[in-house]
């Protein structure tokens, strides 16, 4: 049935930047309500792969299927319209803007007064407050600046926002870098909640321990090539670290 078909399939993706080949014939798939851990060291091609999926740039070779339907994204907006939401480690919120203005950035609700359309501030604040409450952040008002929030709170709001806008696939790019242990646990909870509500997740990291508690499957990349793909039941976290390290040529 539907459940067995992948939500997203990237087939034989290759990408060059000038003379450098960033991705070489990489294929991955993400199933429905699945958390996929995308592993690899810096420069392995993880970010390039998900940027292609998020519509930042097109692949030079290969196809992308969304619900088995071939898709071509020419901008992040198009990918987002399909329900592919990316939460970047540092690129999701503007610090010197309020939470509510950030929350709706690029998708602001408006109300019409005559022939002009103005921001629906009331709706923005109410909806934003609700989501803030749901992800468990304590702030006085959605009109507080993002800069007063901790790293974990920012990730929570970014994830909450993606889910609010109906994300089917949530791409998290190193969501736990620079987070405390407590906050890391929080992010794991948010990911599990996202899966519960029906979304699939791609979790990109170079740290296996960050993703191991929540992932269902793993894909390993190294120097633009897929070097491994396995389910969680197949390997312990330590074994995976060993594999990442050995494929780097450390052994």
């Amino acid at each position: 049935m539907q459940r067995d078909l992948p939500l997203v399939r990237m087939a034989n993706i290759s990408k060059w930047f000038g003379a450098v080949q960033a991705l070489n014939n990489v294929s991955i798939e993400v199933r429905h309500k699945e958390v996929l851990g995308l592993l690899g060291d810096n420069g392995a091609g993880k970010s390039t792969l998900i940027k292609i999926l998020a519509g930042v740039f097109p692949p030079d070779e290969g196809e992308i299927y969304f619900n088995e339907e071939p898709v071509k994204f020419s901008s992040p907006k198009e990918a987002r319209a399909r329900g592919i939401e990316t939460v970047h480690q540092e690129l999701s919120l503007v610090n010197i803007m309020t939470i509510s203005r950030n929350f709706f950035l690029g998708r602001e609700p408006t109300r019409r007064i005559g022939s002009i359309s103005l921001l629906d501030k009331k709706k923005m604040d109410e909806e934003c407050s609700r989501v803030i409450g749901e992800v468990g952040i304590r702030v006085r008002s959605p009109n507080e600046y993002v800069s007063i929030l901790s790293g974990g709170e920012r990730q929570a709001i970014s994830i909450g926002r993606a889910m609010y806008f109906g994300a089917k696939l949530l791409i998290l790019d190193e969501p736990m870098t620079a987070l405390s242990v407590k906050e890391t646990r929080k992010v794991i909870e948010h990911i599990e909640e996202a899966r519960e509500s029906g979304a699939s997740v791609i979790f990109i990291t170079h740290n296996v321990y960050h993703v191991y508690p929540v992932a269902d499957r793993f894909v390993m990349l190294n120097k633009g090539v897929k070097t491994g793909e396995f389910g969680k039941e197949e390997h312990e976290a330590e074994e995976i670290i060993e594999m990442v390290a050995s494929s780097e040529g450390v052994l």
Binding site: S75, P76, K77, R80, T86, H88, L91, S92, L93, V94, N95, I96, M97, R101, N102, F104, L105, G106, R107, E108, T110, S117, L118, L119, K121, D125, S129, R130, I132, G133, E134, V139, R140, S141, P142, Y145, S147, I148
Partner: protein, 323 residues
């Protein structure tokens, strides 16, 4: 589900959170200071006189502030100001003045378009691109006119629309200034575009990744900045009835100073148009007030310099406090 309510038990902290609080306080202080010290200061004639010069500076400041919030600079506004006056006089002397004004504003807008295009295509800081544009336009004007003054003797349509007295020293330019302040304040705080302007200046990578066309936002704001400078120049020229290629030299710094005094961040991403409005008023009040208390005109520069430094320092402190 938890309702987040505003804390109303702390009105002082609420007031302090108004971004315009500082500039309004500073303006009021200086206004009272001069009213007490100079007997002729608080008269309708003098206050409308201040309003007149503030309107011209202020319209330019609105454009500058709008662009600065999007994270870019425009130093060429002072040259556009003089250039607009020149085009208007030259055209207005032979064709209908309203048509001359429209052509003038289109020409000003084109310079803004050029500023934006150069900045983004050549990937050089707008500070440099518009510095070049400022000198380029000023130089061309000087070269063509030989520094001579040209008098306006066209029809009275545009002078009446922009700056002829309407009683008690009030002029239409005052109304234009207030109206444009309200308009741009609304655009900035109450429209989607305004949100994109903040995001573009606040962190352009985030804005881009959230689907904001940051180059378009910047280009539009460059055009607005130039347009407003062109309008300010057109008003001034209609008030004086003569155009001189040296008009407005140094005015770009006054406008930037007004914006900064009004709470606009030099680094972009934050600021208000109401603040820019009072920033321009503060500048105008100091200029006239110093003259009226009998201080030599040179003191104006020193005073403004000190206030800019103080305002920028307060901005940074507020930022640490609130953000």
């Amino acid at each position: 589900m938890r309702r987040v309510t505003r804390n109303i038990s702390l009105p002082l902290s609420q007031i302090r959170r108004w971004p315009e609080f500082g500039v309004i306080l500073a303006f009021s202080t200086i206004f009272i200071f001069f009213s007490v010290l100079a007997p002729m200061f608080f008269t309708i004639r003098n206050l409308t006189g201040i309003f007149t010069i503030v309107s011209e500076l202020g319209i330019m400041t609105i454009g500058i502030a709008f662009l600065m919030i999007a994270g870019e600079f425009d130093l060429s506004v002072s040259s556009v100001y003089a250039f607009a006056g020149f085009i208007f006089v030259t055209l207005g002397n032979s064709i209908n003045s309203l048509l001359a004004l429209i052509i003038t504003l289109v020409a000003a807008g084109c310079i803004g378009f050029l500023n934006g295009t150069i900045t983004m295509r050549a990937r050089i800081p707008s500070f440099i691109a518009t510095l070049g544009m400022m000198m380029f336009i000023r130089g061309i004007m000087m070269a063509i006119t030989g520094g001579r003054t040209v008098a306006y003797h066209g029809d009275l349509i545009v002078p009446t629309l922009l700056t002829r007295f309407i009683g008690h020293g009030f002029r239409p330019s005052h109304v234009w200034f207030v109206a444009l302040t309200v308009l741009f304040s609304l655009i900035l705080t109450r429209t989607r575009y305004g949100n994109w302007v903040f995001a573009t200046g606040g962190r352009k990578e985030v804005a881009r990744s959230m689907g904001v066309n940051i180059n378009r936002v910047k280009l539009i704001n460059f055009i607005i900045s130039s347009l407003m400078a062109g309008l300010a120049g057109s008003i001034a020229i209609n008030r004086f009835s003569v155009a001189n290629p040296s008009f407005g030299i140094g005015m770009e710094l006054e406008a930037i100073a007004s914006a900064v005094i009004g709470g606009t961040f030099l680094t972009g991403g934050h600021g208000t148009i109401i603040g820019a409005f009072f920033g321009a008023f503060l500048m105008g009040t100091i200029r006239i007030g110093l003259i009226m208390v009998g201080a030599p005109a040179y003191w104006y520069m020193a005073f403004v310099g000190a206030i800019v430094i103080i305002a920028a320092t307060i901005n940074i402190k507020l930022r640490r406090l609130e953000m």
